[in-house]
């Protein structure tokens, strides 16, 4: 008879720390940055109290944090780091290094707006700016999701022969510092879900040099192979999500999640914590007879363009919510959705909001959707 699972009330940072503790990494290197700091402190506490047997390197910068866990991962350890905004940007060089070298590891990003101007509050610019670095990127909707996603991230990155690092994103302050109810797995269940890591590149009997110069006839072959792996990752993510869903007895989506999209006229596409607000808005709109739905993008990279196209192709119109913007083009998610829908005759609207921690309530989303329904919505709307 299975041991009953614990139900806890934790803030997002502590939920992720709890999952990391259960994943039993061996080397951590984390540099503090708001709003991730309480996660780092919790991990240090676990180690000090013997609950987590790991080396926590008190690293001197984020660039070095990613470098340290890269070195440890190459040498066979399960590793973890977490960062945000400025820190994520500072470690960008090493993020590309890890992706290009196809070294599996897991990093958590508490999303936060990027300076200048200074802001410690939430938006998605930091997270989406890493989209071409050959990393799997997935975002959580709530604290339960952040916990689940952390465990799945380790599993996905260590999937045999996939060789891709995974970045799990969760909204700064909105999830990191908000306490929510979550059910955690038993330690034994996590041990079974995450068997010991096999990936290792240091063998003194078979010495290799990693990260060699690749000349102009070879380099593109590595990128082509990475492209194939990222395509393959789409099915791996679905497979791992199904396995995890079965384990926890809840539906834990993989690439995307559709909420009421079967008979909907309008789809609202969103990523991250405000997907929850969209859910609430959809319920209210349905109550007023407007058949809307939420299409949540859970996996941002590899971009699940086939699925998105499939879910949106029959809709009257689509409203994409963006917390990151690409100047001259449009919201980042909207531009990618439009690209996935190329050739279809479905109009795509873009709502840009929530930058720098701006509060976006379900009433605002309901408003936008109503305007869309009435035909008075502009193609791109900013909440200013």
């Amino acid at each position: 008879m299975q041991k009953a699972r614990k139900v806890l009330a934790l803030v997002g940072n502590h939920a992720v720390a709890y999952a990391v503790k259960q994943a039993k990494p061996q080397v951590l290197a984390v540099f503090p940055i708001t709003p991730q700091t309480t996660m780092l402190e919790k991990l240090a506490e676990y180690i000090a109290e013997g609950e987590l047997k790991a080396e926590l390197v008190k690293i001197e910068s984020e660039h070095s944090a990613m470098a340290t866990i890269f070195g440890a991962a190459v040498a066979g350890a399960r590793v973890f780091t977490a960062t945000s905004s400025q820190g994520l940007l500072y470690m960008t060089e090493m993020i590309y290094w890890v992706g290009g070298a196809r070294v599996p590891l897991v990093a958590a990003v508490a999303t936060r707006a990027i300076a200048a101007p200074w802001s410690i509050l939430d938006d998605h610019h930091d997270f989406v700016s890493k989209r071409d670095a050959i990393w799997i990127q997935m975002m959580a909707e709530n604290v339960q999701d952040a916990y689940d996603l952390t465990l799945m991230a380790f599993r996905i990155s260590e999937y045999p022969n996939l060789l891709l690092p995974v970045m799990m994103g969760f909204d700064g302050f909105i999830l990191t510092h908000t306490m929510e109810r979550l059910e955690v797995l038993n330690d034994e269940e996590v041990d079974e879900f995450l068997p010991p890591r096999k990936f290792n590149l240091i063998d003194f009997e078979d010495p290799v040099s990693i990260g060699q110069v690749a000349d102009s006839s070879e380099y593109i072959k590595y990128r082509y192979s990475a492209m194939k792996a990222m395509e393959n990752a789409k099915s791996v993510i679905e497979e791992v999500s199904k396995e995890y869903s079965k384990l926890v007895g809840r539906n834990v989506p993989g690439l995307v999640e559709d909420f009421m999209c079967d008979d909907a006229d309008y789809a609202i596409v969103a990523m991250g914590a405000w997907s929850g607000d969209v859910r609430e808005a959809v319920r209210r709109l349905r109550g007023e007879g407007i058949k809307s739905c939420l299409l949540k993008v859970k996996t941002f990279r590899p971009f699940p363009k086939e699925l998105i196209r499939k879910y949106l192709s029959e809709k009257k119109a689509v409203l994409v919510m963006d917390r990151a913007y690409s100047y001259g083009l449009g919201g980042v998610l909207a531009s990618e959705v439009k690209s996935a829908m190329y050739g279809l005759q479905v109009p795509v609207y873009n709502f840009v909001a929530g930058l720098g921690g701006q509060d976006v309530r379900p009433t605002v989303i309901v408003d936008m959707a109503k305007k869309l329904h009435e035909g008075t919505l502009q193609e791109e709307v900013w909440l200013v």
Partner: protein, 296 residues
């Protein structure tokens, strides 16, 4: 054809991409023969990154991890902790970095790893400029030297990295020169057995960068020591001592005049008499500081 004597240690294979006269292959071969095959090399962007070949083959017979230029000491920290965590014993993690990656772009990383006393050996091979990108000055370029970014001669002085590392209170700091290869080898042997952060700063002359005929590499490296501009010393748990011929150089008359060293190198050919005297004066001053360090 008679077989050569086999030396069964790890080696650095011949037929690599180093310039003729470049001492790096010999420096690495010496390092590997002392450290043995249970060694991981971490190599940041530098001449060695290219000498290590491409995806078709590498001259190193031990595992190598290439590193972004600023990251090597951090990567090495991770490697060492991971190998230890997985139960490996008797292995060496060695950073092999140029002066640019050490004193400039990777300086914070170096200082961080030293402050944490990571159990790694950090060898800085100093060719006194960003050589791999075509001879641009670094903080380790000496006063008066020509580089493409200091065509009138560098105005600033050479950053005293070995002394900075000594101030970090790490268990072992040493300087070395490929011109005194047995001293270099001895220091490697000693460093191998020390636990904690060890730092060896190796003077590594560069024929195209220092502007001298490729045959003079060893002679130039010897003269650097013989003129006293590059003293050979080691600091073991805070105790400073001179090594090799540098032991005899406290007496100024035993040091060759610095012109003997400068005149062999095209990078110093435009020095004025005043500048040469300034350099000689700085050397003499440095040896007074060394006297003070010895008294402690």
């Amino acid at each position: 054809m008679t077989e050569a004597l086999r030396l069964d240690n790890a080696r650095f294979l011949r037929g690599n991409a180093a310039c003729p006269g470049c001492p790096i292959p010999k420096e690495l071969d010496t390092l590997l023969s002392v450290m043995g095959k249970r060694t991981v090399l971490v190599v940041p962007a530098s001449c060695t990154s290219v000498i290590l070949g491409d995806t078709r083959g590498t001259p190193s017979t031990v595992p190598v991890i290439h590193s972004a230029m600023a990251a090597s000491a951090a990567i090495a920290s991770g490697v060492e902790r991971a190998l230890r965590a997985r139960g490996e014993k008797d292995f060496n993690v060695v950073v092999w970095a140029g002066d640019g990656a050490t004193g400039d772009i990777g300086f914070a990383t170096l200082s961080g790893a030293a402050e944490r006393n990571e159990n790694i050996l950090y060898v800085c091979y100093d060719n006194e400029a960003f050589m791999n990108t075509g001879i641009q000055r670094s903080s380790l370029t000496p006063y008066g030297a020509w580089t493409t970014t200091t065509p009138e001669g560098k105005r600033e002085f050479k950053k005293p990295l070995p002394l900075v590392m000594m101030q970090h209170r790490i268990p072992y700091v040493a300087t070395a020169s490929i011109g005194y290869i047995f001293d270099y080898e001895q220091k490697l042997r000693k460093a191998k057995d020390v636990k904690g952060f060890r730092y060896i700063h190796l003077l590594s002359p560069c024929p195209p960068g220092w502007r001298y005929d490729s045959s003079l590499t060893v002679e130039v490296a010897k003269l650097a020591v013989d003129t006293g501009i590059w003293p050979l010393f080691e600091v073991e748990n805070g105790e400073f001592r001179l090594t090799s011929v540098s032991k005899t150089h406290l007496d100024k008359s035993r040091r060759k005049p610095v012109e003997a060293y400068l005149k062999l190198q095209g990078r110093f050919k435009n020095l004025t008499q005043e500048q040469v005297q300034e350099i000689q004066r700085m050397i003499d001053e440095m040896w007074e500081e060394i006297k003070a360090l010895l008294k402690k």
